[in-house]
């Protein structure tokens, strides 16, 4: 093992050369450990320790009045239990993520099924156009939709007006603001679902479909009994990706730009609430407690997915 590679070095000093060889041998024998070094540092320094620190902060009072975190036990959590803004933000986040992701899946799957037939001319270019939105900078997405939604000169209301309909105020109204930001997420991320579903459909074996056709199955039957079960793993993966991303980015960047949580706090998701609490009102202790609650929620959702077997057989 040690002789696998022992490059002779030109150094005159024997012990030096031995040391080099020893180092090389150690590297050769344990190279996988060295390869892992970055990720171990990453996990420790950028993930586990910060997460532990977050738990500690969530048990502390740390705001403009206190210079360093002071331990206060579960006070922040007790406060959260009675904080209507927190519960409203939580509910909004769940409504946002689940309705957006559901619409994206249904729409993306429908487009994928339609595209997944051979010989439609110009299909390549259409596919390119359809997936454009997901590559656009989320901030720019927020900005371009603010123009489209503008109640006085936005394209949407101008179009509605030409049809004789008085459009709502969209982002400006308490009734439509949440719906408006959800629609923007649908616009940006349906293409992702479409891509995933297309990739999934193209990886399906052809035999079951031919068998079904020979047996005279209807299109709906084929879809229900063959396509859907075989697509289940990729559907779950796609859902998981979108839900995770929904809790991370989608419920922050575009909303922050379009409404900053307003009007009132109608579009204030957990992320926005935590950001405002921590970085605008400088109450880092309470913000940490909010984030811990979001984390627990997401862990629960993740467990549900893991139990459904998304990663089954893939890890080993």
């Amino acid at each position: 093992m040690s002789s696998r590679k022992s490059t002779p070095t030109n150094l005159p000093n024997q012990t030096d050369s031995q040391a080099t060889t020893f180092l090389q041998d150690t590297f050769e024998t344990h190279f996988h450990v060295w390869f892992l070094a970055p990720v171990v540092v990453f996990l420790l320094l950028l993930t586990f320790i910060p997460t532990l620190y977050l738990f500690y902060l969530s048990l502390s009072r740390w705001d403009v009045m206190t210079r360093s975190p002071a331990f206060i036990g579960l006070t922040n959590y007790l406060h959260i239990m009675r904080d209507p803004v927190f519960w409203a933000s939580l509910q909004r986040t769940l409504v946002f993520v689940f309705s957006a992701v559901t619409i994206q899946l249904v729409l993306g799957f429908a487009i994928a099924l339609l595209v997944n037939r051979p010989h439609i001319r110009g299909i390549g270019i259409m596919r390119t156009l359809i997936i454009l939105p997901m590559s656009i900078t989320p901030i720019v997405v927020g900005l371009m939709w603010r123009i489209l939604y503008n109640p006085s000169f936005g394209l949407i209301n101008s179009t509605l007006a030409s049809l004789g309909i008085a459009g709502p105020e969209w982002l400006g109204s308490r009734d439509t603001a949440l719906l408006s930001v959800i629609l923007v997420d649908v616009w940006q991320w349906t293409p992702f679902m479409f891509l995933m579903m297309t990739a999934g459909l193209q990886s399906l074996p052809i035999e079951p479909f031919e068998a079904a056709r020979v047996d005279g199955a209807s299109g709906l039957q084929t879809f229900q009994l063959i396509t859907l079960p075989m697509m289940k793993p990729i559907i779950l993966i796609a859902l998981l990706f979108r839900i995770i991303d929904g809790f991370k980015v989608s419920t922050f960047d575009p909303i922050f730009i379009m409404t900053k949580g307003g009007p009132g706090s109608i579009t204030q998701t957990l992320n926005i609430y935590a950001f405002l609490t921590g970085f605008e009102w400088f109450n880092l202790g309470y913000a940490s407690a909010i984030v811990v609650c979001a984390l627990l929620l997401l862990t629960l959702i993740g467990r549900l997915f893991l139990r459904s077997g998304v990663f089954k057989g893939e890890i080993a």
Binding site: L43, P50, A161, W187, A199, K248
Partner: protein
Amino acid sequence: MASRYGSKHRRYLRGQILGRIFLFAMSIVFLLPILWMFTTSIKDSSQVMAYPPIWLPRPPKWENYRIAVNAIPFVLYLRNTVTICFFTIIGTLLSSTLVAYSLAKIPWPGRNVLLLLILSTMMLPFPVTMIPLFVTFGRLGWVNTFKPLIVPSFLGNAFYIFLLRQFFMTIPGELSDAARIDGASELGIFRRVILPLSKPVLAVVALFQFLGSWNDFLGPLIYLQSNDKYTLAIGLQMYRTTNYVEWELLMAASTLVVIPILVLFFFAQRTFIEGIAITGIKG
């Protein structure tokens, strides 16, 4: 028999036509906001507010682009953004490939546990580490520098590790074995056998990392505090004066921010789609 063939053919044709109409409608829906951003960017301010809406202003006011670039330190922000993108791409490629290779190709006890740990960090919402890291980077004196945005990429990224691992798994072990018999070192095998075979997936990682850094908003928003450090995503906010938004300039700048992405996207579309497919199918 003939009629049956006919009805089947008719159904096929109907499917084709309906499919095409639906697709066409969908591509318009997905494209229109982007087009609208562009046409707004070449209007003058009265045309922005005009009713009925003006689709293509004549003559186009290309001057908006010059004004927009000069209204904020656009070139400086572009340079900042490119700097961050460049180093994060290097960092990610260096670290994530090593880690992924170890996780994919070398059997050692506990590697599945580590993989699960890494995957589970993908589940962590960004804000979880946002506050503690902000405090830590603050103590290190890194706030208002690019370091908090660049250094983490040199420690790997769960998503890219996962992506690369999935790809490395598909490279047959015989290749590395042959190189090993020929006396190549492990690092040599990694560099001369594995990496050259992985060019497509490395392109995917570089592309995604570019998009990630280019589009990042929350990171720069928290860490970059002085005007001269801003990235483009943050700089876009500066077109908003106290009670008035210069929409045509904002849209011109937005278009400029999006153009590199669109160009990359058209040229690297296959890479992009492949990346998504790798995560999806093999995930």
